[in-house]
Homo-oligomer: 566 residues x 2
């Protein structure tokens, strides 16, 4: 085992070890064993070694038993009915198994994904993102036994809602995870809370040309997600992809797996979700997980997500985000994670750290602003979805019937040309050579047409897809504000019924004004980014389209020149 | 009546006049009358005047009665059940009535014809062309009462199989019309005929570089079909289109209606059909007959047909063709028509006029050549049909879904742009103006895409459609040759059974060789024209395609330039 066996690591491993009753050494590094369900099978030998490490903390059996069943969801049972080991080796139950088990299938899905990458992303509301599939987390338990990344404990300890719920996450925390910022308590948690968080980590809001704005750093943080590496363990039974993230600040690369991105997402959603829309991560696709196209696509999307987070002055400046990008070593990361997960300033409480340098807003104005943003984001959501729909159809046409048609035109020319060649009439070749060339040209055009969407439409779609995700967060973010506004409206009634003191009513009005400044700052941030992004993507799209049509014209001019002018 | 009332004209008119029992003058130039079926209705007054022209030849009632029923075919009865006058005013029974009766319908058909002009031509074997519908001929009876073209008699006297059959055409002639050159008698009519036609109108065949060739004139005949004029008579109850044909030789325009082209076609098919493929005329489309697009299309196709006939050294030099192009006046035309219709050198007898300046061919070689041509024409027919099929699909896509898609892309950009405009964020306009412009550009592209086929694909399709028609004639033309070859093969048997004399066997071999020279000359003519035509049309197609893609690229570059480069 490459990883030092500190207690927590062992503790984690116990969960699994205790399932086993070892029968005998089979050799070849395998041991026959039986799990708690009496299922018998082979287990890698050096995994069993772990058991020999003495004085481990007693395992939390109750938790484990609660966990075991969920680790093998119905559909896995179904798809693996003939695999007694499905309950442990969830790699066989997870779609990823399709990959090494049946390559062609994996490739297939990869192709189709390449042909229409966002078909999956296009469906399902991003906010509805539920975190990684549990079986995948369970499978990660295995990963980390040998994950080159190290810090096995922290991963196994924290990752996955189940873990959080079971091992050592407070249930309050879960509710926050699942309903970031709008837990039963609602905005009044902030509006009425007695004392605000102390001075550290204040989020100032300044008045800029465009209105309230966050405070932006001189140099914008940026990072590069690159070099996806496929790691495997358990004698190749399990594999995963690790990405290298290099921030522009330190320029020192750190490694993260998708599940770490997911952890970060949960933290950010948890902490900033009420004030700042945190776009969900690219969907966790299971099938074809190691298929070239798919890895490229996910990396591209993770890069897009990271770039957006880096661009956000509040998010990029947060401890948890900095930790993710710049942790020095495993220990550093571990401590940071603990801290992040203990953070109290989550949900609506984030507003308690916001300090606008401007006079309080009249509640009427607050409401108007909120309404305006609500209208705009809804309208833009429609506009973006329209582009996605049209673009998807166009993609299908450009990769399907259209090239087929050019292909057939090209073939028809060539066929007629070869018929002409059979005429036996002299001086035929000048025409037939030209016609064959013209035919080939249309076959080339067919090829070009089919490949073009990847060069232009792809980015147009990706950007709009990203914005669709982002816009999908606003209803909730805005919801918090609307709820707060309602509370303030009830102010008098609440005082009358002495639910709150007159002083608290004043405080609520003041705090809803602060929330409004936050929302305005966020909207202004959104707008400036939107203008930048759409200007960029439209340029790129048109640029590529111009190249495309110019190339076709050139090819056809060339073909034309081969005919003799009479 | 603008036309002088010579006896035959009156004779014609009698046919109709005798149907009537005049009741009373209604006024406004109308008279109430009853036809032989007891149907009552209004008749133009000055038509009735005709009756008053005395001393007319007694009408051929027997013929008329025979004619009357056929003049109103079942389907007309059906479609005009509510029109008691359908039996006379066959314009109401013919599809052409749709035109003045229900304009919108006419326009509709026109549009669809424009969208896919050869859909009609694409179906139905050209050789199966049956000549104009009889009701149309009957309707022509009416036309010519006032046809500005004049020569009413000859038309009414000659046009329409029925007329030929009934009035004064020999039935033999009909059989030849319907089975040009391969009447029951078959090629032996020529192979065994005692004495050949006298010296006049010999058709020499020379040996050129490419093999046997017709004798070509120094200057190729050409003509322009133009200036289609819509004439109408019977108070606008009837109308027709007259085309102006101007031959390059005289440069003096003559007028002809479709039915005259049809008459010419029948004569040429009759006279040359066995040796020279005579392509059928553009289909006689009834609906939307006066719809802009349709008239333009038919004229274009009549021009194509005439050009091809002019290009043919044998056809263009024939008396009947020269008559059609250069008749001086009505009398001249009339005489010419009579002569043409009396021509005895029709069907297989055309070979009796052919004189190759080369040694007789060995029957084996004759057969090989024939087989080769048969193979080639069949193969080319397939190739041409493939292009027509692919082209038709491409036409549909380019005029249907594709522009719709670009339209929607354009709209989507513009919609998003207007949403952006509603943001209330400052400095929005630079992006939104550019996006709106880009959107409009894609709408322009949609327009271009939809209109492009008319500019290039159209000619590619027309040329291939023309060749489809031409190639459709070869099976019959080649059939005559194969039949002749078979006869020659039977030679010995026929001599043995003393069906023919040894001398006649020799003659047959000699004559089949002559037929072969004719076929070879025709094939060489076909090949040279084919090479010319396809070279031309491919150039034109590619030229327009280049323009098309270049224009799109330019428009998009313009749109691209409106985005600000950051």
């Amino acid at each position: 085992l490459r990883v030092p066996l500190h207690p927590e690591f062992i503790h984690t491993v116990w969960h699994t070890v205790l399932l086993l009753t070892v029968f005998q050494h089979i050799g070849g590094g395998w041991i026959e064993a039986q799990n708690s369900r009496g299922e018998v099978g082979l287990v890698p030998e050096d995994y069993i070694e772990v058991r020999d490490v003495g004085n481990a903390a007693p395992p939390d059996l109750s938790f484990f038993d609660a966990f075991a069943p969920t680790s093998a969801p119905p559909q896995n049972q179904a798809s693996n009915g003939n695999d007694p080991w499905s309950v442990w080796n969830t790699d066989a139950t997870g779609g990823s198994s399709n990959n090494w088990a049946s390559k062609p299938e994996g490739t297939q899905t990869g192709k189709s994904a390449a042909a229409d990458p966002w078909s999956s992303a296009a469906q399902g509301h991003p906010q509805a993102y539920q975190g990684p599939a549990e079986d995948d987390e369970w499978d990660d338990e295995w990963d980390d036994v040998k994950s080159s990344g190290g810090y096995a404990e922290s991963e196994s300890g924290e990752s996955g809602a189940m873990q959080r719920g079971g091992a050592h996450g407070s249930s309050m925390k879960i509710s926050l995870n699942k309903f970031p910022g709008f837990s039963k308590s609602g905005p009044e948690l902030y509006l009425l809370c007695k004392q605000l968080v102390k001075g550290k980590d204040k989020l100032p809001i300044y008045m800029g040309e465009v209105g309230p704005v966050w405070s932006y750093p001189e140099t914008q943080l940026d990072c590069v997600v690159a070099d996806p590496k496929k790691g495997s363990k358990m004698y190749g039974l399990k594999s995963y992809i690790e990405y290298q993230i290099t921030p522009s600040t330190t320029n020192r690369p750190v490694n993260h797996r998708y599940k770490h991105f997911d952890w970060l997402y949960e933290r950010l959603l948890d902490k900033f979700g009420s004030a700042i829309p945190i776009p969900s991560l690219p969907d966790k696709q299971v099938t074809g997980r190691f298929e070239e196209e798919f890895i490229k696509m996910r990396m591209e999307r993770l890069q897009g997500w990271m770039t957006r987070m880096c661009r956000h002055p509040v998010v990029s400046n947060s401890d948890v985000f900095q930790l993710f990008l710049t942790y020095k070593d495993e220990k550093d990361w571990k401590t940071g994670k603990r801290k992040a997960e203990k953070d109290e300033t989550v949900g609506v409480m984030i507003f308690s750290t916001i300090e606008p340098e401007a006079p309080d807003l009249d509640p009427i104005e607050v409401e108007q602003k909120c309404e305006q943003f609500s209208r705009f984001t809804r309208a833009m959501d429609d506009g973006v979805k329209e582009i996605l729909t049209v673009g998807q159809e166009h993609w299908k046409r450009c990769t399907g019937p259209l090239p087929k048609e050019y292909q057939r035109i090209g073939k028809a020319f060539q066929n007629l040309s070869s018929v002409f060649n059979s005429s036996g009439y002299q001086g035929e070749s000048t025409l037939t050579d030209a016609m064959t060339a013209a035919g080939k040209t249309y076959e080339e055009i067919a090829q070009m047409v089919a490949e073009q969407p990847k060069k232009d439409l792809h980015f147009l779609m990706e950007t709009n897809n990203e914005y669709k995700g982002l816009l999908g967060c606003f209803p909730d973010t805005i919801g918090v504000h609307k709820a707060a506004i309602e509370k303030v409206k009830e102010g008098d009634k609440l005082v009358a019924t002495s639910k709150i003191s007159p002083q608290e009513k004043v405080t609520m009005a003041k705090r809803v004004s602060i929330m409004s400044y936050a929302l305005q700052a966020e909207m202004n941030h959104f707008h400036s980014n939107r203008i930048y992004d759409y200007n960029r993507v439209m340029q790129l799209y048109l640029e590529e389209q111009v190249k495309f049509y110019e190339t076709i014209a050139a090819k056809l001019r060339q073909a034309h020149s081969q005919f003799t002018t009479m």
